[in-house]
């Protein structure tokens, strides 16, 4: 990659030289953009330049071509194998992060977007796969776009068995062991715990409509969907 920065000409070279990470991030952002535009059926370079917020996009793109990340066919941007691979990874990290922040930490979509943009650049492959497994190898992001499959997903290809799911996704008459309960209020948590609903307890989904009815031991409990959604279980 040092080779790349050597090739950059012009006044920015001085700034990019020592701060390689910044450059890497910007390359990743552009790869991400190429990928998302491609999902919309857009390959046009002009549109890419219009959409990007990076004012120095042109020179970075030029560098990227040299780095063998993509090539131009007329005015069309075509990812090459290396670029495809890198783009896949960054998209995967971004969309998995979105789901993690939105579902588990219950952050708003705007907050999620901001944080995901930062985190996507720093997650290691191992952590990414752990997040993916934790979330149960989700096929789509919170906006419904596909999350590129990773190594960890293909291992489960035959039977995608999520490790931890929100209780409301537990199938009828299936049993789940509580992994954690996202606390909405302390009082609710205290109350649930007096009924035996704590991490480690096994719950059985009795029915989901018109209300959620669960069985814990020999006790049947009716609960609101919001409460059920905040309980995360592992199927047993």
């Amino acid at each position: 990659m040092n080779r790349g920065s050597d090739l950059i000409k012009g006044p920015h070279r001085r700034r990019w030289g020592p701060q390689k990470e910044v450059e890497e991030d910007r390359v990743e952002e552009l790869l991400e953009l190429i990928w998302t535009l491609r999902e919309k059926g857009v390959f046009d370079l002009d549109r890419l330049l219009e959409t990007t917020s990076d004012i120095e996009a042109k020179s970075i793109l030029r560098w990227m071509i040299r780095d063998d990340l993509f090539e131009m066919e007329g005015n069309r941007v075509i990812l090459k194998e290396r670029g495809e691979e890198k783009a896949r990874e960054i998209i995967r990290r971004h969309r998995l992060t979105e789901r993690l922040l939105h579902e588990i930490f219950e952050m708003s979509e705007e907050e999620v977007e901001e944080e995901a943009c930062k985190l996507e650049h720093i997650l290691s492959p191992t952590v990414t796969d752990s997040v993916c497994t934790f979330l149960g190898h989700p096929p789509t992001c919170i906006h419904g776009k596909p999350i590129p499959r990773g190594e960890c997903c293909t291992k489960f290809k035959k039977e995608i068995k999520p490790l931890v799911i929100p209780l409301d996704e537990l199938g009828l008459s299936e049993e789940g062991r509580i992994v954690f309960i996202a606390p909405k209020s302390h009082q609710r948590l205290d109350r649930l715990s007096t009924l035996g609903i704590v991490p480690g307890s096994v719950l059985r989904m009795h029915q989901k409509s018109p209300s959620f009815v669960l069985q814990i031991g020999e006790t049947m409990l009716a609960l609101d969907k919001e409460i059920v959604r905040n309980i995360y279980v592992k199927k047993v």
């Binding site: 480690g200 018109p210 409990l221 609960l223």
Partner: protein, 657 residues
Amino acid sequence: MGSNQSTETKQIRSPREKVILIGNPNVGKSVIFNYLTGKYAIVSNYPGTTVEVSSGTLSAHGKRFQVMDTPGVNSLIPMSEDERVTRDILLQPSKSHLVQVIDTKNIRRGLLISLQLLEMGLPFTVLLNMWDEAKSRGIEINIQELSKMLGVPILKTVATRRKGLEKIKENLKARPSSSIPIHYPEAIEEGILRITPLLPEATLSKRSLALMLLSGDESLTQWLNDHLPEDVISQIEKIRQETQVYFSDSIGYLINQARLKKVDECLSKVMRGRGEAPRSISSFLGKLSLHPFWGFPILLIVLWITYEVVGVFGAQTSVKFLEETLFGKWLLPPLITLIQHILPIPLLQEFLIGPYGIITMALTYALAIVLPIVGCFFLIFGLMEDSGYLPRLAVMTNHIFKKMGLNGKAVLPMVLGLGCDTMATMTTRILETEKDRTIVTLLLALGIPCSAQLGVILGMFASLPLFYLLLWIFIIAGLLVVVGYLASRVIPGEESDFILEIPPLRVPLISNVVVKTLARIEWYLKEAVPLFILGTFILFILHKTKILTFLEWAATPLIVHLLGLPAKVTEAFLIGFLRRDYGAAGLFMLSKVGQLNPHQILVSLVTITLFVPCIAQFFMMAKERGLKKAFLISAVIVPLAFGVGGVVNLVLTFFGA
């Protein structure tokens, strides 16, 4: 429900030795209480209705014991009014024998309480009740081992068949308390060590009190202030906050978690088998009544039976006999003649037996009209409670009430409202938060016609095409949902979580239901009847002072111009405030003599349904919610009733109906 706490406290202070029954909800405490005392208590499946503490007498070992049946609890760190009452009873210094009742198949939850009793340093006896049900599920428990582990005697019982209950008396003797070590997270243990030296001597162990205080139990505030100086209390609060800093979860939750872990540890040594419930008709029906599809036909059948008993048998057959025959022919005429003879003062005569008289109106109304309706309702309510259908009803209707910012539990006062709104306002006590209660009180006052009114309203629609009735239902129901939705957003406070335990469906014990119904009728007579008398008295004054006539005159323009109704309707509306059905009956008379066209009938009925509740209900609102809220609610309702009536009038005129 729960009005006799003051008398209970008196009994609590009596020096006699006590037997205190304690346990989770629906474990059969009340049946055991009845066995011990030979007297029935309110038994209930619905969380919230056993706020009362029943007490009775038991003779054993040549002594007389006072037996107390406490409300069901899931924890002794109170999360509800019920749990608080129970914990407070344990906190009372007295010589008592504790008997903990456990539903054997739910032993895990039962032992959670046993551990707390052990921590409190109280000696107690454990009854593993419903032993047969657990056995038929293949659950086996090594009683000797468990008894050794806990250091308390354990009895196997089947309370409904009186099995094993005779041994309770043998165990009513003094015993040393035992203990079992539970290890809480390090920081909590340290908090306990810091708090215990600050506490005074009490009935309960200092360790248990320290745990309650660490979990931030606000219900102990009163006790703290009675026993400790202010600076010590703030010192304790400081320790609590310092301890909480170590954890992201609440301390109470962590404490429960540690206790459950201990319970599971004990159970793994003494319990075997975890079976499925055996198939039986009642478990089949129990499942069916919750079924996403079949649950609804069952719900409709139950509501239909309720309507047949309350609406037809209670409100029509019984009322007809009581009002027309018993009161109208047999009781009132001789009474009126008697009063006219012995009380020659016209004003007093009118006060008692005039058109707004205490006897002719208030008592006739309360006893001949409302009593049979409410009595029938209580009977059905009792059957639902005892059979375990009540929580199922709440489950089936939860999502409808969710839209109004309420939950399924609100179905109960709403259904009762169709019988008598005054009573229904009182039963909003079964709801958990003040916010829920306020919304239901508002909706009851706004759009739930009581049976007396409903009867007259349905009678009037009978002469019109079905379309008008459907339109009326649509307008009222729509408005209830909209107002409920808005109210849930405007009214401050916490929405209650819908966490409801569903007991198995059982064949109700008729004797239990009868006693319960009678107890509630007594409660009605004591609490509601005085309000009917007060309401009638105010009406009498308004009538005598001619204020009624003045109000009529003042309101006429509104009625004529906004609603497009004849001036005579004003009288019906005003009377409607004092007695809902009288108001509707006034309209009925007008439509009968042809003064109202179908369009006007609809407008007037929509308005009077929404219009201010009767005066007794207003008083009940003031009593339950406070005078300020009662006025606020009325201030919402009056413009809304006339506004909606006006809009209906405009729309109908526009479409030329």
